[in-house]
């Protein structure tokens, strides 16, 4: 039995669940961001796997490129916000940040 579509899908499901676990269990905002990157990567693996095996062809690659673009923009703005939170609160624990302005 060779490597087929299902193998890639299971790998991406594993990566998705690990990313979700990271997002749920961490308090540090940067760790939450890392979990988010894992989730986005798992979605990308699915797109590219369907591009090869599911007849999605080059469209899957284009969708994956747009996901990468969005992940980059999101990471930039999120880290800017995290830096701002650190200036105001001197920590980046997302569960203790409950004021918009002090």
């Amino acid at each position: 039995m060779g490597i087929g579509l299902t193998h890639y899908l299971v790998i991406s499901a594993m990566l998705f669940c690990l990313g979700l676990f990271g997002i749920i269990t961490r308090k540090n905002a940067i760790m939450v961001l890392m979990g988010l990157e894992l989730v986005l990567n798992s979605a990308n693996i699915n797109f590219v796997a369907f591009a090869k095996y599911g007849g999605l062809n080059i469209q899957g690659h284009v969708a994956a490129i747009f996901v990468i673009i969005l992940a980059d923009a999101e990471a930039t703005v999120a880290l800017a916000i995290v830096l701002n939170i650190y200036q105001n609160f001197h920590h980046v624990n997302v569960d203790e940040v409950d004021k918009l302005k002090d």
């Binding site: 490597i3 690990l18 760790m31 673009i69």
Partner: protein, 167 residues
């Protein structure tokens, strides 16, 4: 057991092992460095899936861009001299509930993936994909392409605006 299979399982091992390290490590710097191996493993999977351009993009953007940004964020928001560099795990009860929930979700997802009869079209021929991607981006996806470039511009300006010191 041909070479393709061996490399696939090697990449899968790298991805899953380093992702587990990312989400369980106590030190946030170790998490950031494990993320490097996860991204490399995903790039390897892209190579196995005949996506050469995406593999290079993954290495250039995720490792050269996002990971560097994350490490900068770690260094700017932790006290480097102190021991306060932990990644902040929530309580034991939340940890248990979260692991049970995500394991359950993984079992469900894997079950669905294995049981579904996916439409498998003709396998994509293995040829360089840069030409086709360029054609698609500038014909069918032109509007989305332009919107993405405007989005990136706004993200740059907005990030610089937000992160600036206000005094």
């Amino acid at each position: 057991m041909d070479l393709f299979t061996i490399i696939f399982y090697l990449m899968a091992f790298i991805i899953v092992g380093s992702a587990i390290l990312v989400v369980t490590s106590k030190n946030i710097m170790y998490s950031a460095f494990s993320l490097l191996f996860t991204f490399f493993g995903v790039a390897g999977l892209y190579v196995l899936l005949n996506a050469d351009f995406l593999a290079v993009t993954q290495i250039m953007i995720y490792i050269g861009g996002i990971l560097i940004l994350i490490i900068f964020g770690v260094m700017l928001t932790t006290k480097i001299t102190g021991v306060d560099i932990n990644s902040g795990i929530t309580g034991k009860i939340q940890l248990g509930i979260a692991s049970v929930l995500t394991a359950f979700l993984f079992v469900i997802l894997a079950f669905i993936f294995a049981k579904t009869k996916w439409f498998t079209g003709a396998n994509m021929p293995s040829q360089p994909s840069i030409n086709q991607i360029g054609n698609e981006l500038l014909t069918n996806y032109l509007l989305a392409f332009e919107a993405a470039s405007v989005l990136l511009l706004i993200a740059i300006v907005g990030a610089a605006m937000i992160a600036r010191r206000k005094h």
